[in-house]
């Protein structure tokens, strides 16, 4: 349908790409850190505003991409998160001695990939989007290549991702063999043993990116090793985009709703929630801990995939928002305390001991983030978890309900451990005050923390907005 609408819908994507090209050309001409950052921020902000302006009364589509309520929501989340990461990266990179400008280039490319991914309705665009998202991430994770940890994180993610992509491609091939189609509607036409096997293998590839147990092993190492802004991007847009495309597959392609597959998915969900939380229990490194925590959170989110109803989409939306806001807040605090990056990052819990007495507002923001991730009432996380529980109870999936509750109970332990550390008296490492950054950085983190509370206290507008999106 060659209407002008798809072109307009592609606007945010085009803007992000244009910003990427501008940064690229700028680097070729003259290296200017702040200018590159500004171009990135302006590009992302423009894309965000344009995306907001795009009301989607009817969904527009091209053969490869679809622009509906779901992709609208996901694109907003992707652009918002990328913007936060870009803003915080500037402070972080100021202390970096190597080339700094390419970081923004990679960030913009990853954002563009995520935008493609969330809108794809074709296996080709899915794969393209996924790789465009992942490739820059390898570079970003290994960005501080002088540090062996960073390099190791990048390489590990690269090699394991390659393996995951191989599974994904193989699964796509099997699906193609069965159905002869690559677009989602075409895939829905036929079911059969090959299609089911292909679906399973695709699930391995996508499950790897979402760090679903048993494909989760890379998560803590990569989270810990990568520079904080890169990890932040990985934890936010990468996971969100992959989850959204998986959600779309489950909704549109019947083989993804196959009874056996659904049961398997339920099993994986339970395993992921429990294992993720158990692994985090005595973790003393905050970045690793957040890695484990994200494993557990995507376990909870799988519940929405297993049930796959109309309400499940809304639930997933609510949960994704709450997860994103809390995660960005937590990583935001870590970024600020690690900025500007010179030596070791502030990732050990020791660095956070007595933070409240040095930086009360940052400590409060981190506390709020932890409370939200733990799902305490009056924070965003509670609303998300409440929706997941309501969904599971409504569908009478009692095992899932039990696992969510057990997982949350275990989770409370390690989130509280972080909070306790913040308020202990002895400040172990007073140099880790993260001062000297721009006031804007602190403000961003505080606004995010405030958002966590607002969403928890007054969720109605966000929930209504999500329910009103046409899908």
């Amino acid at each position: 349908m060659p209407a002008p609408l798809p072109l307009l819908s592609l606007g945010p994507f085009a803007l992000v790409c244009a910003a990427a090209v501008t940064v690229l050309l700028g680097i070729a001409w003259q290296r200017m850190h702040t200018v590159s950052a500004l171009v990135t921020i302006v590009g992302l902000l423009g894309a965000l505003v344009l995306q907001l302006a795009l009301q989607t009364p009817d969904s527009a589509e091209t053969p490869l991409l679809v622009f509906d309520g779901l992709s609208h929501f996901a694109a907003l989340m992707v652009l918002g998160s990328s913007l936060v990461v870009a803003l915080l990266s500037h402070t972080y990179l100021r202390g970096y001695t190597g080339p700094r400008e390419e970081f923004y280039l990679l960030l913009l490319c990853a954002a563009a990939g995520a935008l493609i991914l969330v809108a794809s309705q074709h296996l080709a665009s899915l794969f393209f989007g996924l790789e465009l998202l992942s490739m820059p991430l390898y570079g970003m994770l290994a960005y501080r290549f002088q540090s062996s940890h960073s390099l190791e994180a990048g390489l590990k993610y690269l090699i394991l991702s390659a393996a995951g992509s191989a599974f994904l491609l193989f699964g796509m091939a099997l699906l193609y063999a069965q159905t002869g189609a690559l677009d989602f509607t075409g895939l829905a036409s036929e079911m059969g043993p090959w299609a089911l096997a292909g679906t399973g293998l695709m699930l391995v590839g996508l499950g790897f990116k979402l760090s679903i147990v048993p494909f989760h092993l890379w998560t803590p190492d990569v989270y810990q090793g990568g520079p904080v802004p890169a990890t932040m991007l990985l934890a936010s847009i990468s996971k969100l985009a992959v989850f959204v495309v998986l959600l779309r597959l489950v909704l549109e392609v019947p083989t993804f709703r196959d009874e056996a597959l659904s049961a398997l998915l339920a099993g994986l969900a339970i395993l992921t929630m429990i294992v993720g939380n158990l692994l985090a229990l005595r973790q003393s490194d905050l970045k690793r801990l957040l890695g484990y925590s994200s494993i557990a959170h995507f376990g909870y989110l799988l519940v929405a995939l297993v049930i796959g109803s109309r309400f499940a989409v809304e639930t997933a939306g609510v949960y994704l928002i709450t997860y994103l806001v809390a995660t960005l807040t937590a990583f935001g605090v870590v970024t600020l305390l690690s900025s500007p990056c010179r030596t070791e990052e502030a990732s050990n819990l020791e660095h956070y001991r007595g933070l409240f007495w040095r930086r009360p507002w940052l400590a409060a923001a981190l506390t709020v983030a932890m409370l939200s991730l733990a799902g305490i009432p009056f924070t965003a996380g509670f609303i998300g978890k409440f929706y997941i529980l309501a969904l599971a109870v409504d569908a009478q999936r009692w095992w899932l309900v039990a696992a969510v509750i057990a997982g949350s109970a275990i989770g409370l332990y390690y989130y509280l451990r972080v909070m306790v550390a913040l308020f202990l008296r002895e400040a172990a490492d007073a140099s880790r005050a993260g001062r000297g950054g721009h006031w804007l950085n602190d403000t961003i983190v505080l606004v995010l923390a405030l958002l966590v509370i607002v969403l928890g206290v007054w969720p109605a507008p966000a929930v209504d907005w999500l329910a009103g999106l046409n899908y």
């Binding site: 394991l160 393996a163 096997a197 048993p214 206290v457």
Partner: protein, 622 residues
């Protein structure tokens, strides 16, 4: 215009909340002056907003209404909304909380001068005001309960304010635990009401209850009894009264605000607010009156035998709240709330004046070591005289007289002669202990160095709150009587007039006799009294009353020690071990799973392949 002022109502609690947050996150950078300004200013602004709304309300521009701010989450029947109820009752409470609260915050700036952690003090105080306002403005029981727990927490924090002294910590714990026992009853009562009617909205709940239940219905009795349990704990009435005297460990402004003027009267407010339920349970309502009567007598005797200024005032508070319960018990809610208001004025005044004495005498608060301060501390003396006169209900000129007289008259009109006699006897006791307190502090010779060298307080921070409260404790305060006829059913004495004058005369006579008797006894018969209290039967009564009839010892023996013994014996039982197993199991699993995270890329790759194979095999078998 009208819409605008009413829509300002949320500011009354948001301002103190903002104050709390600012103070809490300043991390001590504000300094003493800044902390005082923010702490007092936020409550002052809240009082200003209250005055605006109150003026509109009084002029008839704004009627009783419910302001629904928003619904938190709506799932089925459970849709807790944050709504504010504006009517004469909530506005009265709000005025007391913000008005008296502001004066006390102001005075506290003088009282706490130079104390360590003044930021913490004001953060807690503002948090208290915030919670208390939520309690009285909430249109549903959930919000009310939130405020209810919030004030309990602040009370705990402020009693234990001087935490370096272990005894203060113990007093804070005692207050928290004893009121918590009441809170459990209240919570169960709320659950009961919710299961019965599916709503926690107070107005809706009472309407549904009156339709579904007839008077004397067992469930209604049970619900009322459970709510009463909560009220008893918070308002320090028998048998949950033991915490209040120990709560005096906190700074004196705290005692004035929380343990005299506002929080402890929350129980009175709760019963008044839920009077629809209590009307359905006449037996429980009668019990309310009985408990009030017994408490007011018991506390009156106990107040006679205390040596600490603040403990005298604490027992006196208990006794006065007993009057309020008595009023509620005979169905004279309006009279009860009126006494609540006047009591807030004069008791706050007495506590602040006591605070002034205590600071001026370098934290000496034992009556036996004070004395002769009337020339050195004239303002405190004046405050004590005015406040004491109001407390003892000196006829015609004091606020306390009008409210107490009303209660006694309503008791007669409800034909509860027993309660009337208890009230009159209590009035006699009030005169006695008030005079004992004033004479002990201000007359005679100074009995210690601290009293000899007392320096009067200076500055408006010290004098203005005292003067304002002193004015409010007189006849002028009684003119502020709120018109609560729209909120409550007609009181028993609304139509009758027979005997009103007689009660007034008798009550006046009792109060005057009490005062004169007290003056004669304590001014001229001091040594004789001391001898009387030291030997024989007198000593027995002195000790008995001094320990407030020995409830603490009784509870200690009957409840605390058996409980601790039980805890001790259950410390290492199999059930505990079984529960601990879950934690152990989690740790063992954690240790096992952590081994999989060995950092070896090849292991990770193998795990992925094995997982994928397993998945495909499972799918193939299905």
């Amino acid at each position: 215009m009208m819409e605008m002022t009413v829509s300002l109502l949320p500011l009354t609690f948001l301002l103190p909340l903002a104050g709390t947050l600012l103070l809490a996150f300043s991390a001590g950078r504000l300094g003493e002056r800044g902390a005082v300004w923010i702490g007092t200013g936020s409550v002052g602004l809240a009082a200003l907003v209250t005055a605006l709304v109150g003026a509109d309300f009084a002029l008839g521009n704004a009627g009783p209404q419910t302001l629904t701010l928003y619904t938190w989450i709506a799932v089925g029947e459970f849709a807790p909304s944050i709504g504010l109820r504006l009517d004469a009752l909530s506005l009265t409470m709000l005025s007391v909380i913000t008005g008296v609260g502001f004066l006390i915050h102001w005075f506290a700036g003088w009282y706490m001068r130079g104390e360590e952690g003044i930021t913490r003090f004001y953060a807690y105080m503002n948090l208290f005001v915030f919670s208390m306002i939520l309690l009285v403005l909430g249109d549903n029981l959930l919000l009310l309960f939130l405020g209810w727990e919030g004030v309990g927490l602040c009370s705990y924090l402020l009693i234990g304010y001087y935490y370096q002294n272990a005894a203060n910590g113990a007093a804070a714990m005692k207050a928290f635990i004893v009121t918590r026992i009441g809170d459990v009853f209240l919570a169960v009562g709320l659950f009961l009401l919710f299961t019965q009617f599916g709503t926690l909205d107070i107005a809706e709940l009472v309407t549904r209850a009156t339709q579904a239940w007839s008077a004397g219905e067992p469930l209604a009795q049970l619900a009322a009894l459970l709510i009463l349990g909560g009220a008893l704990g918070k308002s320090a009435q028998l048998p949950l009264h033991t915490w209040l005297a120990d709560a005096m460990a906190g700074p004196t402004p705290v005692s004035a605000l929380i343990h005299a003027a506002t929080m402890v009267t929350a129980g009175v407010y709760l019963i008044a607010r839920m009077h629809g339920i209590f009307e359905l349970a006449p037996a429980v309502l009668y019990l309310v009156g009985m408990i009030g009567a017994v408490t007011l007598l018991m506390a009156g005797f106990a107040a006679l035998a205390q040596t600490d200024i603040k403990r005298v005032l604490a027992y006196s508070t208990m006794s006065q709240i007993g009057y309020m319960f008595l009023a509620l018990g005979v169905g004279a809610y309006s009279a009860g709330v009126f006494h609540l208001v006047t009591h807030a004025f004069f008791k706050a005044l007495l506590f602040l004046a006591a605070g002034a004495v205590i600071v001026c005498c370098r934290h000496e608060q034992d009556i036996r070591r004070l004395g002769g301060l009337r020339r050195r501390l004239p303002l405190a003396y004046l405050s004590f005289v005015v406040g004491g006169a109001a407390l003892a209900a000196l006829p015609l000129v004091t606020a306390g007289f009008y409210s107490k007289d009303e209660i006694l008259w309503q008791a007669l009109a409800a034909e509860q002669q027993g309660l009337l006699i208890a009230g009159l006897l209590g009035s006699l006791l009030t005169g006695l202990y008030t005079l004992r307190l004033i004479v002990g502090i201000f007359h005679g010779e100074p009995k210690s160095k601290a009293a000899e060298n007392a320096q009067p307080g200076r500055g408006p921070q010290h004098s203005v709150p005292l003067l304002v409260l002193a004015v409010l404790s007189t006849l002028l305060g009684a003119w502020l009587r709120p018109d609560l006829s729209a909120v409550f059913p007609a009181a028993p004495g609304a139509d009758a007039h027979a005997g009103h004058t007689a009660v007034q005369l008798i009550a006046s006579a009792t109060a005057i006799i009490g005062i004169l008797l007290g003056a004669w006894l304590f001014l001229t018969q001091g040594p004789k009294l001391a001898r009387l209290a030291a030997e024989g039967a007198g000593a027995f009564f002195w000790r008995w009353w001094h320990r407030a009839f020995g409830f603490d010892g009784l509870y200690d023996r009957v409840l605390v020690r058996p409980f601790l013994g039980l805890v001790q014996s259950l410390r290492r039982d199999w059930l505990d071990a079984f529960c601990g197993l879950a934690g152990q199991l989690a740790l063992v699993l954690h240790a096992g799973l952590s081994r999989s995270q060995n950092g070896q890329l090849r292991h990770y790759a193998i795990a992925t392949v094995v997982g994928a194979t397993l998945m495909v095999v499972i799918l193939a078998r299905a």
